[in-house]
Amino acid sequence: MSKFSILPINVKYISNKNASLPKRYFRMKRLICKIAVVKFIILLFFPCSAAFAAIGTVKVASGSAIVIRNGQVLAALPGLRIERSDILQTGKNGRMGITFVDLSRFSLGPNGRLSIVEYLYDSTTKRGRFLTKMDRGSLAAISGNIARSDRKAMQVRTPDTLLGVIGTRFLVVVK
């Protein structure tokens, strides 16, 4: 039942926000099912040419730069694919540059730690959702198609704030 594969992520997201709204929850669930069926049909016609899970690629790396995926540590070298829920981490002299599939570009400075909380992107409609959590360090960013599609679509969370990204070039430093 691959057409229901997107359900767990979305249901979790909705139930967190609207725990007290069961009616709305079920209506949304039905809507998500419909979207899932449509997506499934589209996928039959448009087989994806690249690995489905990849949401970006490491383009620049220097010093100590790693990607943590499901508890495993991977060396961040140019060409390494970034996946949903990866954690990007740099050491004292480490740096990392990533371009995401919606053409957002991130540059993570030394002593940085950034988690990808949510990344959804549809290259046909150029819409999606991009949520990252910045724990420490500095992030220089140039937003891409996701932020352009909707002013609520891209967010950066820091330990004490939530930033909505409208665009396009900005810097976040968490001390």
């Binding site: 371009t99 500095s138 330990p159 665009g167 810097l171």
Partner: protein, 192 residues
């Protein structure tokens, strides 16, 4: 000892803060900005769209101080692991065929891919407004996969290529519905 700890905790919590800076957009893009959102409701508290400003956020989210003019040059120091900007190539087709108007462009594309570390290629097909919009989605996807095949035949790894068809959603020349237009029948190859 406890006093020292308390002072230390106070000092550390006072230090835990974020600084954000907003820069003018890259050429050809509209000015953006950032919004500071309420964590629970995600509604904007403050909207920041003034370019070249640096803002310090205090413990309470409403505590915002503009601390200085932010120098664009400094951005490039802070961002010195920023990946290079994507490059876009436009490919046009001879009328009623899958033959390229200028096939030399494929050489330029291959050269650009070779120049970049960890390159990715995004191929997006487009159509004009002639015909059914849903069918045009399929036509544009086919156009994109034809170009993908061309690149793969020239030795580009299929794993770095992604294709998409955008149908008639993104016209290069704005026309009415059901209009033949050579400039709209195109494939965009973005290398990033």
């Amino acid at each position: 000892m406890r006093k020292v700890l308390l002072i230390l905790i106070f000092f550390l919590s006072a230090c835990a803060q974020s600084v954000i800076a907003i820069l003018p957009p890259e050429s050809g893009q509209s000015i953006g900005g950032l919004e500071i959102l309420d964590i629970a409701t995600e509604t904007p508290i403050v909207s920041l769209s003034e370019a070249n400003t640096q803002i310090k956020l205090g413990k309470t989210r409403r505590d915002i101080t503009k601390i200085s003019f932010y120098n664009q040059k400094k951005f490039y120091d802070d961002a010195n692991s920023m990946p290079p900007a994507p490059v876009k190539f436009l490919l046009y087709f001879k009328q009623g065929s899958n033959d390229l108007v200028d096939s030399k462009i494929i050489d330029l594309i291959i050269l650009e891919i070779g120049r970049r570390a960890g390159a990715d290629v995004e191929i997006t097909g487009h159509t004009d407004t002639a015909g059914d919009p849903i069918l045009n989605d399929l036509v544009s996807a086919k156009r994109a996969s034809n170009i993908e095949q061309l690149l793969v035949n020239r030795g580009i790894a299929p794993t770095i290529i992604r294709t998409a068809g955008r149908g008639e959603r993104e016209l290069r020349v704005l026309t009415d519905d059901d209009v033949d237009n050579a400039e709209n029948r195109r494939v965009e190859v973005t290398i990033y």
